[in-house]
């Protein structure tokens, strides 16, 4: 059952590469991830526990992917590492909580359609708010430090602290609640395995976002500019395109995506504080690095891998969850120093 969901994500991974004749589709990282998942089964013992863990990991992996996708494009396109990206996650989640009250009738109604509509509205508004914050962020913190990596690292970390604190000023330091509507709660039963509805939804949303991003990159003019700009920004400018403007658009979209990820994560946890951003920062950074800078496919694969390893290790040896992420990172980088699905060699 869950192997089916793993391989359906695997199918979307293979597609964008197969679209180009003459290029061999690289299935190896996929197989590694599937093998990794299967190898964990004997360690975990019961297959039903394994299924639950794996589905949960896939859901979390999708959310990680959504949060990290913006960051990898931003880094690939403009060589900018925004350590403050995690703040967008927190802002997304917090903004979502503010929309709960006005839309409450739909959220608490009996109708599934209204429930879903409410969640969609919440997500969209949270995305817009985060994107707007991203626009301001880019002007204030990214633009002035352009080209100076040292300054970028320092300033973006400072910016994350400032944003987190502002969130606390605006919303207070209490636990925030983002309750799922009734029709999206609960689990579906497959034999003796219970799979939470929301996790399936998260997987679906993640797959959709991935497909959408890949389509945008492969088929649209903006996607063309982004793919070329990630390889050689100068040449794209020399061809007459304003890469700076493109970059701002990508940055803002990336912030919006992080906001979406934050909203989904908020619904998943249902209770959180401002650290919801900072606690995923390290994982997001690792996902971006081992995926391959600027590569959406790589980001997707890496997110799933990291989520799987974190979940399995949390079950088997909870103290070492974060350590396991680092081990995965080291192993992957030793095997493929440029990432799982690096961009074409320049």
């Amino acid at each position: 059952m869950s192997t089916a969901s793993t391989s359906s994500s695997a199918a979307t991974l293979a597609d964008p590469l197969a679209a180009l004749p003459g290029r061999k589709t690289d299935l190896v990282p996929l197989l590694v991830i599937v093998a990794f998942g299967l190898a964990a089964m004997p360690l975990i013992g019961s297959s039903s526990t394994w299924i639950t863990l794996t589905v949960a990991a896939l859901a979390i992996g999708m959310m990680l992917f959504i949060m990290a996708s913006g960051l990898t494009l931003v880094f690939g396109l403009m060589d900018v590492m925004n350590l403050g990206h995690a703040a967008f996650v927190a802002i997304g989640a917090y903004a979502a909580t503010s929309i709960v009250a006005p839309i409450n009738p739909w959220l608490t109604s009996e109708s599934t359609v209204q429930n879903i509509a409410a969640v969609v509205v919440i997500a969209l508004v949270a995305m817009l708010v985060t994107a707007a914050v991203g626009w301001v962020f880019e002007r204030l913190f990214i633009r002035p430090a352009q080209g100076n990596h040292l300054k970028q690292i320092l300033i973006t970390i400072g910016a994350m602290i400032i944003l987190d604190q502002l969130v606390l000023v605006l919303w207070g330091a209490n636990q925030m609640l983002l309750p799922l509507p009734a029709s999206l709660r609960g689990s579906l039963l497959f034999g003796d395995v219970a799979i939470e509805r929301y996790r399936l939804i998260a997987i679906g949303v993640g797959a959709l976002v991935f497909a959408g991003l890949v389509l945008m990159l492969q088929r649209s003019r903006i996607g063309l500019m982004i793919r070329a700009g990630v390889e050689n920004r100068e040449m794209v400018e020399a061809l007459g395109h304003h890469v700076r403007r493109l970059f701002v658009a990508v940055f803002v979209a990336g912030a919006g995506l992080a906001g979406l990820g934050g909203t989904m994560w908020g619904f998943y946890r249902e209770q959180f504080t401002v650290s919801i951003g900072a606690e995923v920062l390290v994982q997001i950074l690792i996902v971006v690095i081992i995926g391959g800078l600027g590569s959406i496919t790589g980001c997707f694969a890496a997110a799933i891998l990291i989520a799987l390893s974190t979940n399995y290790v949390s079950f088997l040896a909870p103290d070492f969850a974060l350590v396991s992420n680092i081990l995965v990172m080291v192993v992957i980088l030793l095997w493929r120093p440029r990432g799982l699905y690096p961009l074409a060699a320049q």
């Binding site: 913190f141 040292l150 300033i155 970390i157 602290i161 000023v169 330091a173 390290v282 969850a321 974060l322």
Partner: protein, 364 residues
């Protein structure tokens, strides 16, 4: 051409002079204050401030070695500080208050720091700069999490209290008479141990950054490509700087543990501590050891007064609820972060840079 043999003073400072009269004055003031702290002010609190300054001095200066001289941003510095502190704490807790336990704890911590720093740098320094920063962030986070979870060893969130060898306990008296109105007890002895070690380590760092090794580091920072072309194995130099910096931070942790006789995660491995170190270095001035001195002093002074200041500001603004929330003492990090970002933007050379500028412009 015969070169004069450098004076003892020049040798001690390794030829790295403050190059600004104002700066020299300030530094001398700090030195006098630290040397005479037990006698200058009464009360445990002021001695604590002095000891904190000594320890942070080593911590910040060793960080400047990486950030200012190497040009790389490490987020693992607080982790090495924590390794030193916890190493001593765990050893003294488990093995009892003896000098050998202290030596074992410190030794193990130093060894661990060196090895860990080497591994991190080996894995991540060869690639882009951001990999290194990221890896240090990841490792530091993982370490933090471990410290919090392995409660039986580390005491978890509560930390560890432990006892020191008898000579360093407050109850111990070196001699009965008082010196300048202060009893020479174990606390004072602890303080001078911390002070002496800090001073030595600082002078050692001055020696390192003014040696050929330090010059090569700066050359690598300015233009790595050219340094490689000339023939320097840049990776080797950076690895060495990493290990050195980590070991020094570890020593700072050891000193702090000896002073406080307590170790806890919030004061050692938390991200706030890492941020403090960053701020101290940036405000003081990167790439100048003296910057760390000034940065630490300003920071410690400010830290004591910032909360008070915010509190009163928040009170007077109580009528305007939103504004009051902005200035609430719990939100000190907000202002911290803002000052930090502003410093990086507008004072990249820090206070030391500004003072030296003044010297050039106005002969101060």
């Amino acid at each position: 051409m015969k070169t004069k043999k450098p004076s003892l003073f020049t040798q001690i400072l390794s030829g790295d002079f403050p190059r600004s009269r104002l700066l020299t004055l300030l530094l001398l003031g700090v030195l006098v204050y630290l040397a005479g702290a037990p006698f200058l002010f009464s009360g445990a609190r002021s001695l604590n401030v002095a000891a904190t300054i000594c320890v942070f001095l080593v911590l910040a200066a060793s960080y400047d070695l990486l950030l200012g001289y190497c040009g790389i941003v490490s987020f693992a510095h607080a982790m090495f500080y924590g390794i030193g502190a916890y190493g001593v704490a765990i050893a003294l807790y488990k093995l009892g208050p003896s000098w050998s336990a202290l030596a074992i704890g410190a030794g193990a911590a130093i060894a661990l720091s060196a090895v860990l720093a080497l591994l991190i740098a080996l894995v991540s320094l060869r690639v882009k700069a951001i990999f290194y920063s990221m890896t240090t962030l990841a490792v530091a986070s993982a370490f933090s999490a471990l410290v919090l979870r392995l409660t039986s060893i580390t005491g978890g969130d509560d930390g560890r209290n432990f006892r020191l060898p008898e000579v360093l306990t407050p109850g111990f008296r070196l001699f009965e008479a008082e010196l300048w109105g202060t009893a020479i007890n174990g606390k004072v002895l602890s303080y001078y141990l911390v002070f002496a070690c800090s001073l030595l380590l600082f002078l050692l760092m001055l020696r390192v950054v003014n040696s050929r090794f330090g010059r090569v580091l700066e050359a690598i920072r300015e233009n790595e490509f050219r340094a490689e072309a000339i023939g320097y194995r840049t990776l080797l130099y950076r690895l060495t700087a990493n290990c050195l910096s980590a070991v020094l931070a570890c020593c700072a942790g050891v000193l702090m543990a000896v002073w406080l006789r307590y170790v806890g995660p919030q004061t050692t491995v938390s991200f706030t501590v890492m941020l403090n170190i960053l701020l101290m270095c940036v405000i003081g001035g990167l790439g100048t050891m003296y910057g760390a001195v000034l940065g630490v002093v300003i920071f410690v002074i400010a830290e004591n007064y910032i909360q008070v200041g915010l509190q009163s500001l928040s009170h007077s603004l109580a009528s305007v609820a939103r504004l009051a929330k902005l200035f609430h003492p719990d939100r000190w990090l907000l202002w911290f972060g803002t000052i930090f970002v502003l410093s990086v933007y507008f004072f990249p050379s820090g206070i030391v840079g500004k003072l030296r500028e003044l010297r050039i412009r106005f002969g101060l």
